[in-house]
Each structure stands twice: as structure tokens, then as C-alpha cells.
Symmetry: C2
Subunit: 110 residues, 2 copies
């Protein structure tokens, strides 16, 4: 048991969370390490605060951000671990492809 409760290590779930422009831009805002409130995260967008909140919940469900209520605001922080899992997954698929390429090369050059 290496994974915490609801943090999705499932690649599809992580990719699904990343598969939305709004959520990617939220992640980028948080990726410099500073924890930001929902109000600040909503500031630049054309969406309502509630829409942003929903996106944050999706990111949180995928384990890509964490939240903590401080006073009257909810501060969201970047959680980089699932990104590493996603990268590892992509590398594994790419590696399989590279192996296939290698075998093809061997076959052709034989």
C-alpha cells in the first residue's frame, strides 16, 4: 500500500484531469509553489468562482493539488507526485515503441 486514500495513481484519471485547458492553467499558476486562494485563482479567468472551484476539485481528486482552509480562504497547493507518475507512464509507452523500432532496425539490417 503505497498510495493514499483517493489519490488516483490511475494514469487515465491523471490524464483526464490534465485534459482541460482551464485546469492546466490553474496548475501552471500553482506550479511555482505558492499556495493560492480560490479568489486569486479565479481572478484571471472568464469563469465564475464556482466553475473554478469545480475544476480545483477535479485536480484535487486526481491528487494534483491539495487544499487547506486557512481562516476564511481555501488555499490550494501544487502536488507534483502524480505528474511524475504520468511522465513515467508516457516513458513506458514510448520505450515500448523504441524497442519495436530497434527490432525493426535489426530486422531490416540483417
Amino acid at each position: 500500500m503505497s498510495k493514499a486514500r483517493d489519490e488516483a495513481a490511475d494514469p487515465a484519471a491523471i490524464f483526464a484531469a490534465l485534459g482541460d485547458g482551464t485546469r492546466l492553467s490553474l496548475l501552471e499558476k500553482l506550479s511555482d509553489g505558492e499556495a493560492l486562494s480560490i479568489a486569486k485563482l479565479s481572478a484571471g479567468t472568464r469563469l465564475t468562482r464556482q466553475a473554478v472551484t469545480k475544476h480545483l476539485h477535479v485536480l484535487e481528486g486526481a491528487g494534483l493539488v491539495t487544499s487547506a482552509r486557512i481562516g476564511r480562504e481555501s488555499l490550494y497547493s501544487f502536488a507534483p507526485a502524480p505528474l511524475g507518475a504520468a511522465r513515467t507512464y508516457l516513458e513506458s509507452v514510448s520505450a515500448q515503441w523504441d524497442d519495436a523500432l530497434g527490432r525493426l532496425k535489426d530486422f531490416v539490417e540483417r
Copy 2:
């Protein structure tokens, strides 16, 4: 102009295409380099051929597979380039995080 017509270099589009278990398993079947027909790709699944076809179209829209009609069958092939783009994107976000960590460390140790 480095990108062809509709092949999405857009990270969100690539991640969205990857964000589905069925599509990931299709990609995995193709990632060994062998081109497969829709019939063969549908074989293992519980889905109808048309459902699989739709997923293949999504993958093709993201540039992750290519198709070619040979005789009476449509052969789909893995196209690894967008995976590289996705990995690069994840690395850029991770790098920003690592930079932030480094600055924090500097600050704490000062």
C-alpha cells in the same frame, strides 16, 4: 509552421485523448509498432466495433495514431510524437516546481 493540419500539439487535447482507459489500452496494443485493423483492435473489448472506431478517431484527432485503408480494412498505427510533446510539457511544469523548491531551500538555508 512545424505542425501538420489538425494534429493537436495542444497539451490539453493530447491529455484529454489519453484520459480514457479504453483509449490507453488501444494505444498500448499499437505501441509495439504493429498496425492493426479495427476488427482486431475491437476483439478483446466488450465494446462494439463502432465504439472502438470512435475512440480511434479521438486518438487520430490528437495525432496519437494514423490510419490507412488497405483493401477492405483500416489499419491503425501508433504515432509517438505527441507523447513526446506531452512529456516535454510535464517536464516544464515539473521544472518550474523544482525551481521553486530550489529557491525555497536557498531561502531557508540562508
